[in-house]
C-alpha cells in the first residue's frame, strides 16, 4: 500500500504544480544566463582581494569631488556613486587601485527584468507570488517523494547510486537524472520557498539597529588620516559588501561598512569603531538563499542551475509520458462478465501496464474461444461462484515486492477460501537483469501451492523482458493441458532497445531421426560470447 500512496502523491503534486513549474523552469533557465553574462563583462579586476580599504578610500576622495558610497558586487565589480570634479553625479564602475572610472553602470537588460517578473509572480503581483511560492513548496515535496520512490526501486538507500535497471528511455532517464539532480532541485525549491516566505513576512522579524548616536569614547581622541585607521588597514575589498561615506563633515556622521557577517560604524576622524552589529541569522539566510537560488556571483553554480532547470522540464515531460502510457495500457475496452458467472479467472499484478497488456491479449483469446472470463487485479481477489481455473500474471516491483495492485493478495488469500476447487497457473514477468528475477511471482506460486483448494496445472513460468516466445509457449502448454484451442494476438513488442546481432548460417546438417537439425552460425560482426549466453 505504501508505494502506491507515495507514487500517487508524487503524481498528484506534479499535476497540480506542473503548469507553474513549467513557467518557473523556463524562466529560470533564461535567468541562469544573467550571472554568466555579467561575469563576461570586463569590470572585474584581478587582485580585488589584495586591496585594503585604507588604500582605496583616500584614492577615491582625491579622484572625485564627493563619493557617496561604493559597493563590491557578487561578480567582484566595484560600483561607486560619485560626484565628479566637473560636478556630474554618476554611478560608475571603478578600478580598485586607481579609482578611475572604467565603465558606466548600465541598466539591467530588459529581457532579464521581464523574465524575473514572470518568474516571481507571473505578472500577477501578490497573487502570482503566492502561487509560485506554493509551486516551490510542491516541488520540494515532489523531490522528496521522488527520492523515496527511487530508494524503494533501487532496493534501499545504500543502493541508491548503483546500476539502474530500467529499460525504456523515459523511465530510465527519469530515474538517472532524478538521482543526479536531486540535490540541486531540492536546493532550488527550498530556497524558492524561503524567498517566498520572506515576501509574505512569514519569517521571524529580524530588524537590527545601529546606534547612530553612539558617543565617542575618551580613549580615541587622536585624529588619524584615513589610511592609518587600523580597521581599514585590516579589511580587504573582498570582505566589504558596501561602504558608505559619512553624510557630512560633522564628527557625528560616521562611515558605514556592510561586511559579510556584520555592519560597522566608524568615526570619520579618529577611526574608532562606534558600533558593531552582527547580522541576524534570518538576514544571512536570506542572502544565502538568494545566492543559491539565482547563482549570482558564481558561473559554475549558474551552469548547474541552468542544467537543473532543463532537467525539471524533462521530469515533467517524462513523468506525464509514463503516466499516460500506463493509463492507456490498463484502460479496459473489453467485453466483461460478472465475476460469479465465470469459469476462468485472470488476476494481474502490473506496475507499468506491460504485464496487463499480456493479460488482455490472453483474455481476448479466451473470449474468442467462447469462454466466460473475469479479468482484474490481484488486489481485487474475491469469491467466485463458478470459477474453476485461476491464471495469475504478475510482475515484481523493485527488489522483490508486489506491484501496487497486488499488495493485498496475500492477506485476502488467507482470509477466504474459494467456493470450488481451483486449478491454477502462475506466470511471472520480469527481467534477468534484476538479481531477484520474478521474486514476487515465485512467492505467489508457493503460496497457492500450500493452499489445499488449489492444484497446479503447470509449474511457474517466468517471462524475461516480455519475451513473446516464452509467453506463447506457456499459452500453448496451458491450453493443451485444459484441452482448449486458443488463438493469441499479442501487441507489438516494445523492446526496441534490444540490438539484434546478425549471423550467417555456415552449415546445416540433414534431418536427424527426431526431426531436429543443427545450425552452425557465425556472427557477421565479431564479438565475444560464451556458452549459456
Amino acid at each position: 500500500m505504501t508505494i502506491s500512496i507515495w507514487r500517487y502523491c508524487h503524481l498528484l503534486l506534479a499535476v497540480f504544480s506542473a503548469l507553474f513549474l513549467v513557467v518557473a523552469s523556463l524562466t529560470g533557465l533564461v535567468l541562469a544566463f544573467e550571472p554568466i553574462s555579467d561575469s563576461l563583462q570586463p569590470y572585474a579586476i584581478d587582485g580585488v582581494e589584495k586591496v585594503s580599504v585604507a588604500e582605496i578610500v583616500p584614492v577615491l576622495q582625491s579622484e572625485y569631488d564627493e563619493v557617496l558610497e561604493f559597493e563590491v558586487t557578487a561578480s567582484d565589480f566595484i560600483v561607486a556613486s560619485v560626484i565628479t570634479k566637473e560636478g556630474i553625479s554618476e554611478i560608475i564602475y571603478i578600478h580598485p587601485k586607481t579609482a578611475k572610472k572604467i565603465g558606466n553602470v548600465e541598466e539591467r537588460a530588459p529581457v532579464f527584468n521581464w523574465t524575473t517578473n514572470l518568474h516571481r509572480s507571473l505578472f500577477l503581483k501578490s497573487i502570482g507570488r503566492f502561487f509560485i511560492g506554493l509551486a516551490s513548496l510542491l516541488l520540494c515535496l515532489i523531490a522528496v517523494t521522488g527520492l523515496l520512490l527511487l530508494v524503494k526501486r533501487q532496493g534501499g538507500v545504500l543502493k541508491l547510486y548503483s546500476k539502474v535497471q530500467e529499460t525504456g528511455f523515459m523511465r530510465r532517464y527519469h530515474v538517472l537524472l532524478g538521482r543526479w539532480f536531486l540535490v540541486p532541485v531540492i536546493i532550488i525549491a527550498a530556497t524558492g520557498v524561503y524567498l517566498s516566505a520572506e515576501k509574505f513576512s512569514l519569517l521571524p522579524d529580524s530588524s537590527f539597529n545601529h546606534d547612530w548616536n553612539a558617543i565617542p569614547s575618551d580613549v580615541f581622541t587622536k585624529q588619524l588620516p584615513i589610511k592609518e585607521f587600523p580597521l581599514f588597514q585590516n579589511l580587504t575589498l573582498n570582505e566589504v559588501r558596501k561602504f558608505t561615506f559619512p553624510f557630512s563633515k560633522d564628527s557625528e556622521d560616521y562611515y558605514q561598512l556592510s561586511l559579510r557577517d556584520k555592519e560597522v560604524l566608524v568615526h570619520q576622524y579618529t577611526g574608532e569603531v562606534m558600533s558593531e552589529v552582527p547580522y541576524p541569522f534570518v538576514q544571512l539566510a536570506s542572502r544565502w538563499s538568494l545566492h543559491l537560488h539565482t547563482g549570482q556571483g558564481s558561473v559554475i553554480w549558474s551552469l548547474v542551475l541552468l542544467v537543473a532547470s532543463i532537467s525539471i522540464l524533462f521530469f515533467i515531460y517524462s513523468g506525464f509520458f509514463m503516466t499516460f502510457k500506463r493509463m492507456k495500457k490498463t484502460k479496459s475496452s473489453l467485453v466483461t462478465f460478472d465475476k460469479d458467472e465465470c469459469e476462468y479467472i485472470i488476476l494481474v499484478g502490473s506496475e507499468t501496464g506491460n504485464t496487463y497488456a499480456f493479460a488482455k491479449a490472453f483474455y481476448q483469446a479466451l473470449i474468442d474461444a467462447g469462454k466466460k472470463v473475469n479479468l482484474s487485479s490481484l488486489n481485487k481477489y474475491a469469491t467466485y461462484q463458478k470459477a474453476k481455473y485461476l491464471v495469475v500474471f504478475t510482475s515484481t516491483y523493485g527488489d522483490g515486492d508486489a506491484p501496487s495492485n497486488a499488495r493485498n493478495f496475500n492477506a485476502m488469500l488467507t482470509n477466504f477460501d474459494p467456493v470450488n476447487e481451483m486449478q491454477f497457473s502462475v506466470v511471472g514477468f520480469g527481467s534477468l537483469a534484476y538479481p531477484h528475477y520474478c521474486r514476487f511471482a515465485i512467492a505467489i506460486d508457493a503460496l497457492l501451492h500450500r493452499r489445499t483448494s488449489f492444484t497446479p496445472v503447470l509449474p511457474l513460468v517466468k517471462v524475461d523482458e516480455q519475451s513473446h516466445t516464452t509467453f506463447k509457449n506457456w499459452v500453448n502448454q496451458w491450453s493443451e493441458q485444459l484441452g482448449l484451442s486458443l488463438k493469441l494476438t499479442l501487441p507489438e513488442s516494445q523492446n526496441k532497445n534490444e540490438k539484434k546481432q546478425l549471423f550467417k548460417v555456415i552449415e546445416r546438417t540433414n534431418l536427424n531421426s527426431d526431426y531436429t537439425f543443427l545450425l552452425r552460425l557465425r556472427p557477421k560482426k565479431g564479438f565475444k560470447f560464451q556458452s549459456g549466453d
Partner: protein
Amino acid sequence: MLPIFKITPIIIVVSFILLAFAKPTETTTVKCMIQMTNYSGEGAYVVISLLSPNGEYQETLYVQGKDEEWYSDVTDWWKFYGKYRSDVDAISGATINGGERTVSIIKISNDKIDAGYSIRFETAVEDQEYYNDDVQFALTSESLKSKVEGKGFIRYVRMMPQ
C-alpha cells in the same frame, strides 16, 4: 517705412546682447539622505517631487524604485507623472528597505528656492500604507541644510547642499 528698416536690425542686435547677459538658470546640487523606520515588508517606493506654491506637482526630483509596475501605487504623484511619463532613468535608484538609509543627489533650480515652492517625499509599500506627504517642507535655503522628521515610513530626511 524706412525708419523701421533701420531700427529692426538694431533691435535684433540689442536683444541678442541682452540675452547673452541674461543669467542661465542655475541649479543647486543637494545631497539627500532618507532614513527609513524599521517596518517589515517589501522595499518602499519613495518619490521626491517639487510642488508649486499652490500645491501642484511641478517636477519629479528623484524616484527610489525601478519597477514601473508599482509606480501607480504612489497615487498622487502618479496622477502627475503618469500623463507624460518623462524619462526618470537618470534620477532613479533602488527601493529602500525597512531600517535602511539611502543617500542620493538631487538638483534643484535656484529660482525655485525661497519662492514658495515645497519639497514632498511620498512613500508606498506593497500591500501596506501609502503616505502622500511622509515628509513635506517649504523649499528655502534654510531647509536645504536641515533634518526633517517623517510621518510614515520615513524616520527622517537630511538635506545638504554641495
